[in-house]
């Protein structure tokens, strides 16, 4: 099949539309389009960490069954949380056949899951299958002069058994930034948690995390921060206005998806970009939005 079996997850259809728009456009340009499979459901967002809890594995395993029904042995995600949850579930059932049998017996309308679907993140596909040299070749608008800080967060890297790169010293997004001729900016908070779902009942905690993480990126010289997690993007982007109310000296920092950065460089649809960033990229409004 010419394309990747793509699992969007809920955020990419709502809060993180730009992520999907840009990823679709980029992967089409790279000749390996994302093909959304039918009847996917929410992954549950967080992997259940208790040994006896099989019920919360059903949503993820059902997705893997849909992929299997589709005749595919691979599922590709963009969202870090979906990636982590799906990957951990697949390992959880593969490690213990009794668990898998119980889950299969419980879901009697679906075919039995055979344990063969590989869960991959798009960044892995770019690194391992397409290659950074091909990404560089596809670039039509160099990002030279732009300093980009990669924010990895948690779910791409931890725990180690599902991490797509070294948990303490990852380079995968730096390599992508370099392929686009931009300058990667390392900063000490790039793998530190943004506070995640604590935004629901402890929003002030997230505001504090945003302050620390983005101020550090700013001090390290970044013009823009890239991420692959819709929850990190929400937390870091949407709490900046609140942060400015309490700390007026705080300088705002655009936080975008890595695929949006790629879309600008490949001059395909990037979805909506923050306007200060467009100015920094020295590109006109509309360019990179597929309106040329």
């Amino acid at each position: 099949m010419d394309g990747l079996t793509y699992f969007p997850g809920c955020s990419l259809k709502e809060e993180a539309k730009e992520f999907e728009i840009s990823a679709m456009a980029v992967m089409k340009a790279l000749g390996l389009p994302l093909i959304e499979f039918e009847r996917w459901n929410c992954c549950g967002t967080v992997f259940s960490l208790t040994e006896d809890d099989l019920m919360h594995q059903l949503a993820t395993i059902r997705n893997l069954i849909r992929v299997q029904e589709n005749g595919s042995e691979e599922i590709v995600t963009l969202c870090s949380m979906c990636y982590n949850t799906l990957k951990r579930s697949s390992l959880f059932v593969n490690r213990d056949k009794e668990r898998l049998e119980k889950i299969n017996a419980f879901m009697d309308r679906e075919q039995a899951y055979e344990g063969k679907v590989e869960v991959r993140h798009l960044l892995e596909v770019l690194r391992d299958r397409i290659g950074w040299d091909k990404v560089e070749e596809a670039m039509t608008h160099s990002l030279e002069g732009l300093s980009v800080a990669p924010y990895y967060g948690c779910m791409l890297l931890r725990p180690r058994e599902v991490g797509i790169d070294d948990p303490d010293n990852p380079t995968i997004m730096q390599d992508l930034i370099e392929a686009l001729w931009a300058t990667p900016v390392e900063f000490p908070f790039q793998t530190e948690c943004c506070g995640s779902y604590q935004v629901v009942d402890r929003r002030e905690l997230i505001v504090e995390r945003t302050h620390r993480i983005l101020s550090s990126a700013r001090r390290s010289g970044a013009d823009v921060v890239i991420t692959s997690c819709p929850l990190c993007q929400y937390n870091l982007q949407k709490t900046q206005s609140e942060l400015k109310e309490t700390i007026p000296t705080f300088e705002e920092m655009p936080v975008i998806y890595f695929t949006q950065l790629m879309a600008v460089a490949l001059e395909v649809d990037s979805g909506e970009l923050p306007s200060p960033l467009l100015a920094g990229l020295a590109i006109e409004e509309g360019v990179g939005n597929g309106e040329r």
Binding site: G9, C10, S11, E14, E15, A16, C42, G44, T45, V46, S48, L49, T50, E51, D52, D53, H56, C79, M81, C154, L157, R158, P159, R160, P167, D168, T191, E192, C193, G195, S196, Y197, Q198, V199, V200, D201, R202, L205, E208, R209, P230, L231, Y234
Partner: protein, 132 residues
Amino acid sequence: MARNGLEIIEGLLEKVEELSGQNVFACYQCGMCSAGCPLTDEMDLLPNQVIRGLQLRDWRTMESNAMWICASCFSCQVRCPKGVDLARLMEAMRQIYLRQQLDHVSIDDMTPEQISKLPQIALVASFRKKTG
């Protein structure tokens, strides 16, 4: 009974170990988990103190807010030299509450404005972690 309505069941430590699949006595209190935890500012016990409390069967540990502040970021898990998965211990402690119908967040306490402002990824994750 702990102050916040939790019934301290017999064999609580064993229950936490069983749910988490972890041996709390593997921990030798090096403090690596607390050193790397990004959210300790908000916690009334440090992560290593939570494990120490479990080792000593000191049930005041169950009253600590640490388990509710922990966001399962796994920084401690990747760094523990003894292979203790503290994120799983925190989850097991939360589950002890949630399985006694003691939820930590309630959608009824949130205004429609609050709910509409939040992305579903945050709401689903929070309710998965903090309600039974």
